[in-house]
Symmetry: C2
Subunit: 411 residues, 2 copies
């Protein structure tokens, strides 16, 4: 539902917000930071309830309240920030971004990583199974696995190169060494709002009401560890050493103008079973986001070079909508809790725009070349990865996500 | 370390505790129940700190404190319960078991399920790959995957038969129906005590200090859902609809007399890499527990029959020790938090004593026959599964775990 909060002509009395490339007044993401407390004095009704729920050190209570409360808070804050008369009352709770330390916005009960980026799944599958890159289940259900919640960190935390068991093809057994194939994965994160009861699936038509907002997610991966460990139960140490997310929750309401039709399935693709298929979800279930990954190496940092864009992709490459992922997740009765996090799976565009070095370097065989002449198949110590994203549409203010940033340290 | 708390001659002024087959005074498990509060008045020092940490609605703060505090609390409670003079002070905080509702003992941050039951892994592998039942990594690392924390429930909660995508071999696509191959898995649960820091592996020699205690665990599984969904990222909906655990944490201290040598690896098996190998862990890293599974069908219940034992196994069938599992889990830098839960993987004995119906019925081809003539390949609605376990050793009081019980309801 679009409303005055999306009006591109809305001006804010925080001058730096006007024309801001990430967080204009039309965005209003929610997060946890120090110092920071919402001003409750000017709020009433649902907006006051929401602000109160957001006043602790994690946003789970706000997420649990659901869309009506987020919307009320959003509308009121939008009003106040565009009302010059309110400035005097609010100035004291407005902080400069550089004075704030952003934390994880919620206590993440469970983290689930999907695999919905079909071009990534196809590209990676091709490396292993050229004749049948996608497994038979891929187009019938949103493939997913449980990830590790404890090791999720907000943007900016250093990622230590993990050691792990590596098994060289010719060796009789594994060695325990620092990974040689450290990679990033470009993903979109989804925050679960109101949870669901054990044993009670969420119908596809109601699934979107359980998605509170979005973030950026880097699913750091140790490819050589993964190759050796992942059979038969899936990735474990190859992924759980750390996951980085952008710390602001960009609300579902802020992204409302950027919802578009899910790209129609190619002819010949199966139509999903009814519990995963809803026409109105298909009509507006995709989000049009341009995502990009930048790399800054130690050498670039020393020579004062800015991070260099190494890949970009659009979220329309996701084969499944957020509602389909959530409906699938609960279809067997698994319960969700407010503050659970989903990863979309790596987002790669068709024919390029690959969301991982595994793809960009063709399985480590063909290094990418940076403009300063450096080459990379996988990440070296000192490399920094920065993910950003932007939603834009003519007639609407462009919305950003902030950054999902991490630098690789030696193990 | 064994001490007076293990003395088999210790008598308790709670008469029903003397000779109790599960919870004699030598056990003293910890849990969360209503009504119930520890009496802090008679405690001092570490025991008082521990009791205070155990006074909330989850035991995570107590688990975080570590073994010294559990031990102090254990010793003091053992003293008080065997001291007739203390009875008058403590009678009011002693409750009859049937008056208590047991809850999950801790907020489970992350749940990891291992696959350390080698006879189970071999039996299941044989069903799929007769020539190579164990994958090459199995004897080099404790295979594991992340499970779902939200859907773990304490003993007694009904498990609803999940619906899921089932793909019949001859069918062109899947159907969405109640699972036809609902199974139990007999596992030992391990509670993480003090956590660990991100990026800092726990050395194998210190790993046991991070295991606070044990419970029983039923990893309910939908085999047909698993077959269709699990490639390439592992089990998801096949497992996450519910996991049942026994609600008491039987402390590592209570099990101290039952620690034994890890069975030597058969000749020809590889010696694990140094970060997973510690001689003192091998010498005392196994726990000698007899586990059993009983089944009571709806028909048995109606005719007043008691649950019938359908399988039994001993925890010495685990190929990896708890310390090896924990050291492996952190070896890449993944952090642990107090209250994390590990599952051991399904425990089956060699040559029988299979910890799942998948094994007992040879993949669903050979039903087990109950004494009343009923047959089962997989679980039917109304079937109840009860897991129990016992540690015994001459000269020591036998220790039990209580029950891990669940009844199957129609979907």
């Amino acid at each position: 539902m679009m409303d005055a909060t999306h009006d591109q002509n809305l001006k804010c009395w925080v001058a730096s917000a006007n024309g801001h490339d990430q967080f204009p007044i039309q965005n209003l993401p929610i997060g946890i930071f120090q110092p920071g407390v919402l001003a409750e004095g000017l709020l009433t009704g649902d907006a006051k309830v929401a602000a109160s729920a957001a006043s602790g050190d994690a946003l789970n209570p706000l997420l649990a309240l659901g869309g009506r409360f987020r919307l009320a808070l959003r509308r009121r804050i939008s009003e106040l920030l565009s009302d010059a008369d309110a400035e005097a009352h609010l100035r004291k709770v407005v902080h400069t971004a550089r004075d704030c330390v952003l934390h994880l916005p919620a206590d993440i009960g469970d983290y689930t990583d999907f695999y919905a980026g079909i071009h990534h799944a196809t590209a990676v599958g091709t490396l292993f199974r050229p004749d049948a890159p996608l497994l038979p289940n891929y187009k019938h259900l949103p493939v997913a696995y449980h990830g590790r919640a404890s090791s999720i960190r907000a943007s900016g935390v250093t990622v230590r190169r993990p050691r792990g068991q590596l098994k060289m093809p010719e060796a009789p057994g594994p060695v325990f060494e620092p990974t040689r194939r450290l990679d990033f994965e470009l993903e979109l994160g989804m925050w679960v709002g109101p949870g669901s009861e054990l044993g009670v699936p969420v119908p596809i038509g109601q699934a979107r009401e359980h998605i509170a907002g979005y973030c950026l997610l880097n699913d750091w991966s140790a490819r050589d560890v993964q190759t050796w460990e992942y059979q038969p139960l899936g990735p474990f140490l190859a992924k759980n050493f750390m996951t980085t997310i952008s710390p602001w929750i960009v609300t579902a309401e802020a992204l409302e103008p950027f919802r578009i039709q899910q790209p129609p399935r190619p002819s010949g693709d199966p139509r999903p079973l009814p519990h995963l298929w809803d026409e109105s979800d298909q009509a507006r279930g995709a989000v049009d986001l341009d995502l990009e990954v930048r790399l800054r190496t130690e050498t670039m940092r020393r020579s004062g070079r800015e991070p260099e864009r190494i890949t970009a992709a659009n979220s329309q490459s996701l084969y499944w909508t957020a509602a389909q992922m959530l409906a699938h997740h609960t279809s067997g009765g698994c319960d969700l809790r407010a503050g659970d996090l989903f990863g979309s799976g790596t987002i790669s565009n068709a024919g390029g725009g690959s969301g991982s070095l595994l793809e960009l370097s063709k399985g480590g065989t063909d290094p990418i070349v940076l403009s300063n002449g450096e080459r990379r198949t996988f990440l070296l110590d000192g490399d920094e990865i920065i993910i950003k994203a932007r939603a834009h549409r003519p007639g609407f203010a462009s919305i950003g996500f902030g950054e999902c940033r991490g630098i690789v340290a030696a193990s």
